[in-house]
Symmetry: C2
Subunit: 331 residues, 2 copies
DNA sequence: CTGAAAGCGCTTACAG
DNA sequence: CTGAAAGCGCTTACAG
């Protein structure tokens, strides 16, 4: 492996000068600078990151902790974070917390030991007090981690869009499958949906609205969907809004099993707009999070020179209306 | 940040001794050892990885390059690799190549600059000659990268299982949607399927078999599926085997659009057994790759003291028969 | 504008 | 069995 010393010898300068050229220190004369750059190219010199880190106390690395990378939403997020980091010449270290706070702490410490420039944490199940002591800047993304500032989609506003959508389509018997209320996302999405629906329906006595709490996964959507749709027809909802696409797809599956036509007899709306949402039959109406923008904000926040933000940041969402939602059937 | 020096002072020993205790060097007397360990605990000492790397020329890191982490199969693989690496106290650096050989090389070099213990590369589009010069051990997983040894599912044997499955169900008009023949995986899966089918059908004059080459994605399955199923009924296949689940699900979607019942009128089989395979309607018969085992082998191969293997390693696959395949309809 | 030198925190022969 | 010392490759005040 070539070192600065090799480059210095070849270019006939001191190692200090080589280092300055490499760090774009403008005090180096163009002539010397060119000689150094030539030597670097000739030798195929690659700086030793560990040595640099030892001096500067910081590696060109970003740490990323997600509950589960095989969750398509987190995978999408990870992809965008990696792309944004790569653009800024940073690598990404990935860790899964398995949604387990104990594993999560261990992973964060493991990541911190690598001296990253910053840490992006998608929190596991809500945790009130976390105490990581470090100077490494940390942001939480999508799901809050400890007291760190959050960058996420505007879940509340997004859910409000769904409420509006269904109400405008004429639905008055609506069920909401929520996420776990122990999670902030679960609470925000539910709140956004309920508040707006209440507001819209306040003068409407025909409104029937129920909420069932579940997990964010497929199985939960299937379970709850089955319960909701097994009631007598005149009581069962004409629309189901779910707190996640996975739940919505689970519900979609049950509807098909029960011979209920979507969207003729039942509208279903999800949240997250995962790839799959556009592939199921019928295509799922969903709320799209701008993961690219979230990723960009997270990476830039960590790598910017400016002090860490003191407020949470929210990214706008978009309702993608597709085949799974339609006007309520006339009876 | 605490250093070995702090620990040494506190324990009343030299830094060398601290280092030996930390590396489990057995020549340290239990008494000293305990004192050091106590000091480490009291101080909350965490070794500086960069310093260690600078000396040992190697960090407890594994690099992973995948074409696209948002591909569910690679996400699953990444998850298993991360879990296995974590067990062995290693972190994973993730990079996406976007299936672009140029990006791929850049990512690999970026990863190499971090001095990982090893690199796992899921190759992008096939590349004959790659020339990375490094002493860092490299394996390719799933899709071969350069001349590096491959660890992957036994694609050929897995595809042969599908051929047997369909033949035994009585299908004699079979279409195979292959992957790109520019890829090794595409070739192997196709070969495994064709060879076994030919072997089974050699005495059977009623056999009609066609192959259409596509990409591994949903859209390709939809396109090709539409073409295959638009023929006159007596010519169109009674079974479609696809080289990927995504293709198969695309075909499934088309079948539904065209009002063709699966599995009554048409059997569809995929490959990879992604999570989604078990969620579509009907559930997709598929070949399951043991990603956990593949991940384990890859990580262990890289971290083992033994020299790198000189042969490719294949992991057995399992056929998961589900609702999308059934006996051919009696006409 | 350039160079010589110190030092980041660790590991590892080498003495003793 | 333990310690003193060198050195990994780099950056950064400090002189000049």
């Amino acid at each position: 492996m070539k070192t600065v010393r090799d480059v210095a010898t070849k270019a006939g300068v001191s190692v200090g000068t080589v280092s300055k050229v490499l760090s774009n220190n403008p005090t180096v004369k163009p002539a010397l600078r060119d000689r150094v750059l030539t030597a670097v190219a000739d030798l195929g010199y690659k700086p030793n990151m560990a040595a640099r880190a030892l001096r500067t106390n910081r590696l060109n690395i970003l740490g990323l902790v997600v509950p589960d990378i095989s969750n398509p939403f987190f995978a999408q997020l990870a992809k965008n974070i990696e792309a944004e980091a790569a653009q800024q010449a940073h690598m990404v270290m990935l860790a899964n917390s398995d949604d387990d706070p104990v594993v999560e702490v261990r992973q964060i410490e493991g990541l911190l030991a690598q001296m990253p420039k910053g840490l992006i944490v998608v929190g596991s199940v809500d945790q009130s007090k976390v105490s990581i002591q470090t100077e490494v800047p940390i942001v939480s993304v999508d799901r809050r981690y400890g007291d760190y500032k959050l960058i996420s989609a505007d879940h509340e506003a997004g859910s409000a869009l769904v409420a509006e959508h269904l109400f405008q389509l004429g639905h008055r018997r609506i069920a909401y499958i929520s996420g776990p209320q122990s999670t902030e996302v679960g609470r925000l999405r539910r709140k956004g949906f309920c508040d707006r629906l209440q507001q819209l329906a306040q003068a409407d006595a025909t409104m029937k609205f129920q909420i069932v709490e579940g997990h964010f996964d497929y199985a939960s959507g299937e379970d709850i969907g089955r319960r909701l749709l097994s009631e007598r027809a005149e009581l069962s909802p004409t629309a189901i809004a779910a707190a996640s696409d996975q739940q919505a797809i689970g519900a979609l599956r049950v509807a098909r099993d029960l011979g209920i036509d979507v969207p003729t007899d039942l509208s279903i709306v999800g949240f997250d707009d995962i790839t799959l949402a556009n592939l199921v039959v019928p295509r799922l109406t969903s709320v799209s999070q701008n993961t690219a923008e979230i990723a960009r904000m997270a990476v830039r926040t960590l790598l910017s020179e400016k002090p860490m933000p003191t407020e949470d940041q929210f990214v706008e969402t978009i309702l993608c209306a597709r085949g799974s939602s339609g006007a309520v059937a006339i009876k």
